[in-house]
């Protein structure tokens, strides 16, 4: 290590140190402004009995309904759980498949690969329309920002107000913010990947779509798939939560059971969700190790 580098180090650490200090200070200010007290962390009488029931349920999840009698024709609890879990996956998969399309199209349009001096790979061709490119680019970036800055649950209540309850609007509620996030990450990945092959293809006369498909995409696709799979995990959680707004996913039944103080049933639904998420996470860790080329 050179003397110069050695001298630089302490200052670089103190820069991080300053940031950490600022964070801790901000947290303290937040604490004060929210008026939180440590006493409130100790549950009161009612809360304590609920906590006890909840903890009991964790070790002893329900395999049958807790209510003494259920209406005639109610399916067994485990069938209901399986159905809710299947619906959770259905909504997540449908949302992801739409958001992948959105993400690919917008990510492609929103990447600066088009603008680089060597590129001149404009999707609007070389004609007079080319002048509109900066406008198109700015429009796409703004659209991406708007899509992802509104949470999926807020999209969901917007669509509930606009269309009323139907399954497809839950799917778009997932697809819009996820599509925006995928577009942002895809465009960054496309911009970061090496450009030689794209440039060479361009030099031998390939069109913009061909350059994208054979020059850029293959270099970024490993990272893109790995990230998409990670988002799929998140989509499953989002889809479960959408149940809180009346869609037939795990959240719906979980909420009902919790409101009836049937915490053993709550845990059955929770375990179903946890198992799905863990399986997906293990799968994606295995996949990532194979796909991301380092």
């Amino acid at each position: 290590m050179s003397a110069e580098a050695f001298q630089r180090r302490p200052s670089s650490f103190s820069r991080r140190g300053r940031l950490l200090f600022a964070l801790l200070l901000a947290a303290l200010l937040s604490w004060i402004s929210l008026g939180l007290s440590l006493e409130d962390l100790v549950p009161r009488e009612g809360g304590r009995s609920i906590l006890a029931l909840f903890m009991e349920g964790a070790l002893n999840p329900a395999f049958d309904y807790e209510a003494a009698s259920v209406p005639e024709g109610t399916p067994p609890l485990l069938v209901k759980v399986a159905g809710a879990a299947a619906n959770t996956l259905l909504f997540a998969i449908a949302g992801m498949s739409l958001s992948l399309i959105i993400g690919l199209v917008l990510g492609f349009l929103g990447s600066t690969s088009w603008w680089a001096a060597e590129g001149a790979v404009s999707p609007l061709g070389r004609g007079p329309l080319r002048k509109l490119m900066p406008l198109l680019y700015a429009g796409v970036r703004a659209l991406i920002a708007l899509m992802r800055s509104v949470h999926e649950l807020l999209w969901a209540i917007l669509f509930l107000a606009a269309f009323g309850l139907n399954n497809f609007s839950a799917v778009i509620a997932i697809a819009i913010p996820y599509g925006g996030t995928l577009a942002k990450v895809f465009s960054e990945l496309l911009d970061e990947c090496p450009r030689e092959s794209a440039r060479n293809l361009r030099a031998i006369g390939a069109g913009p779509i061909q350059v994208f498909l054979w020059g850029l995409l293959p270099r970024a696709i490993g990272d893109m798939s790995a990230y998409s799979f990670y988002r799929f995990e998140c989509a499953v959680r989002s889809s479960a939560i959408l149940g809180f707004f009346g869609y037939p996913t795990l959240g719906y039944f979980l909420r009902l059971s919790a409101e009836n103080v049937h915490y053993r049933e709550v845990w059955t639904y929770l375990y179903a969700l946890i198992v799905i998420v863990i399986v997906l996470e293990l799968w994606s860790t295995k996949l990532r190790a194979r796909m991301v080329i380092r």
């Binding site: 650490f13 820069r15 991080r16 940031l19 950490l20 964070l23 801790l24 901000a26 947290a27 937040s30 604490w31 402004s33 929210l34 008026g35 939180l36 409130d40 962390l41 009161r44 009612g46 809360g47 609920i50 909840f54 619906n87 996956l89 259905l90 909504f91 998969i93 498949s97 800055s149 509104v150 949470h151 649950l153 807020l154 209540i157 917007l158 107000a161 606009a162 269309f163 009323g164 139907n166 399954n167 497809f168 959680r237 479960a240 939560i241 809180f244 959240g251 979980l254 909420r255 919790a258 709550v266 929770l270 969700l273 946890i274 998420v277 863990i278 996470e281 799968w283 996949l287 194979r290």
Partner: protein, 300 residues
């Protein structure tokens, strides 16, 4: 030429897992769209289209404008009144909830990460000789990892919903704790991965010189891993703000509370305004965290 292409094609890297995953996911997608549960056509029935028309042409138009016969001049007064009356306070509360939660998550993850890292949580840290990894250490790492995976697999929203029942609704703890717990599971995992990817040589030197585990941790691991870790930290901070907005819908006073309040009263104009305000805060926090990340990159 053709034979050369064929040889190249045959020699392409193949992987069973990747292939099986592609088939499985395509199959599941096909099943999903043909199951009949999700029908795009549902959106375009005449009743829904009528609903949509009413929503767009009347519901979301700010009411003073509707009342005054589309006099757009009053828009500004309406917006600033709404903003000063509840928007600002709610926005600040949302920010406070997420800052406190993410810092708590950070502190928790500093506890988890060193205990879950495969190169640190062993008999002798950063030692690659066989026999270093004992059953007890392995059990410890497994337990910590299990706790973290449990924490991050339960969504914040569900955690907050359950904590609300236990802690009561009159304060922000349920939202803060839900966000902190969920994110500690994520940050803990990322922190453990960061430690595992550290260059072992300088740390091994420290151990060889006789430094105890805590010194290696404080003087070696922490300063070296901090830069990378903080990058992850700010990524999570962005999501934390988004989630803090939404958690209000359960009854904690953040933006979501007023959003769901407006929704309950069917004041969709107000609801839309508050949602857009939330989007503004998210964009602002993205900017903030991007700046912080740039500041950090410049430091390393």
């Amino acid at each position: 030429m053709t034979t050369r292409l064929e040889t190249l094609y045959k020699a392409r890297p193949k992987n069973r897992l990747v292939r099986a995953s592609v088939y499985t996911l395509s199959f599941l997608t096909l099943v999903t769209w043909s199951s009949g549960t999700i029908m795009p056509g549902d959106l375009f029935t005449s009743r829904r289209l009528e609903n949509l028309e009413r929503f767009l042409t009347s519901d979301i138009i700010p009411y003073p404008i509707r009342e005054s016969g589309f006099e757009w001049g009053v828009l500004w007064t309406w917006m600033s009144e709404l903003f000063l009356d509840r928007g600002l306070d709610a926005a600040l509360a949302t920010l406070a909830i997420s800052v406190l939660a993410i810092v708590l998550a950070m502190l928790l993850s500093w506890l988890f990460a060193p205990l879950a890292a495969g190169n640190l949580a062993t008999r002798r840290p950063f030692d690659a000789t066989p026999g270093n990894d004992t059953v007890l250490w392995r059990a410890l790492r497994f337990t910590v990892r299990a706790v973290m995976i449990l924490l991050r697999s339960i969504p914040e929203y569900v955690l907050a919903f359950l904590l609300l029942a236990v802690l009561g609704p009159n304060h922000a703890w349920p939202a803060v704790l839900a966000l902190a717990l969920h994110n500690s599971g994520i940050l803990g995992r990322l922190g453990a991965e960061t430690i595992e990817n550290l260059e072992p040589a300088p740390l091994r030197t420290l151990t060889a010189l006789g430094a105890p585990r805590r010194s290696v941790l404080v003087a070696g691991v922490f300063p070296i891993a901090l830069g990378r870790y903080l990058l992850y930290f700010f990524y999570r901070f962005e999501t934390c703000i988004r989630e803090a907005t939404v958690l209000g819908m359960l009854g904690v006073v953040s933006l979501g509370f007023y959003i769901s309040d407006a929704r309950g009263k069917m004041f969709y104009d107000e609801m839309l305004f508050l949602i857009l305000l939330g989007a503004g805060i998210v964009l602002l926090s993205d900017l903030l965290s991007a700046t912080a990340r740039r500041y950090l990159r410049a430091a390393s």
